[in-house]
Amino acid sequence: MKKIKKIKIKINGKIESINQDSTLSLVLKNLKIPLNKVAIELNEEIIDKKKINKIKLNKNDKIEIVHFIGGG
């Protein structure tokens, strides 16, 4: 059986290992991210949440997932 190649990406500053050719949508799904309550950046560019299933991730990609928290 062909072994699935892994790549390393950064999510919210933490290095994570994911399967090569994973979509952004799959990674967010695995992290159980409630999409309606967050915003997502890929390499410092805001991503349209409707298009995440079309975005394939590459080695060293940087993802930021943010939401609202208490603040003044």
Partner: protein, 260 residues
């Protein structure tokens, strides 16, 4: 009688009945925060944009406690020290769910937390062009307030005193000058310590106040939330009622005619 029901606060064409805006930071828990907000009667709350904790997915979410359909979320750029960071934060905030009404706060010094007005002005111009409705935290400087207004700000939010200091309004004259020169909503942001500070702000003619620390860190936050609610109503009512002139000497309240 003053009909306060019809005396709405209008920001960027949106009507609000409450003139008290509260922050959602520094509370012991989300439920404490939610209850304090309810008691304050606030219809707008400031919120921060931060990374999702991806290792602890069970952490409670602010939106589970404060319904953004019922309370207007005002995304804030607190913690940003330059225009680039502030713009990035607010563009992300807009993406979360279409938030266009935002609070811009670009700080310039980590100790006194005064706003960096050069960066603030730059950011206001960009945000206004991008279609944001920007409420701008600023220094109590009438000239800068005017420049913000000319740059497309939707509300002017001068500080009373440094953020979290609880010192109350330090420069009433400047606030009054800003009041005289602008028709934009004028909201005192930062530095209030107790309910009477909010009353003073409203009596100076401000359209509202924004309070976080003074409620969240009071010994009894729920009672303080209520106190601020009443203080804002009281100050507004007092302002609208037209105060008497100040005179140096006494003026008796009882008639001098018929004294025995």
């Amino acid at each position: 009688m003053v009909n306060l029901k019809k005396d709405s606060l209008i920001i960027a064409n949106k009507k609000f009945n409450s003139r008290l805006i509260v922050g959602t930071g520094k509370y012991k828990s989300m439920s404490e925060c939610a209850k304090a907000i309810k008691l304050s009667g606030a219809e707008i709350v400031t919120v921060a944009v931060r990374r999702v904790n991806i290792s602890d997915k069970n952490k409670p979410l602010l939106m589970d406690y404060i319904d953004p359909k019922k309370i207007t979320y005002l995304p804030n750029t607190a913690g940003c020290f330059n225009s680039k960071e502030a713009l990035r934060t607010l563009r992300l905030a807009r993406e979360i769910g279409g938030w266009k009404l935002v609070k811009l706060e670009v700080l310039g010094d980590k100790k006194n937390l005064f706003p960096d007005m050069i960066e603030t002005l730059k950011s206001t111009e960009v945000l206004a062009k991008e279609g944001f409705k920007v409420m701008v935290y600023c220094n109590d400087d009438p000239l800068m307030a005017k420049r913000l207004e000319n740059s497309g700000a939707d509300a002017i939010m001068p500080l009373a005193a440094p953020i979290g200091s609880g010192l109350g309004i330090q420069n009433k004259i400047n606030i009054q000058i800003i009041r005289k020169q602008t028709k934009l909503p004028l909201i005192i942001d930062a530095g209030l310590g107790q309910a009477s500070d909010a009353t003073i702000a409203m009596e100076l003619g401000c359209d509202g106040v924004l309070v976080n620390t003074a409620i969240a860190k009071a010994k009894k936050p729920f009672e303080m939330a209520l106190a601020f609610k009443n203080a804002v109503i009281s100050g507004r009512q007092s302002y609208k009622s037209g105060r008497i002139d100040k005179i140096l000497m006494g003026n008796p309240s009882s008639p001098s005619k018929g004294i025995i």
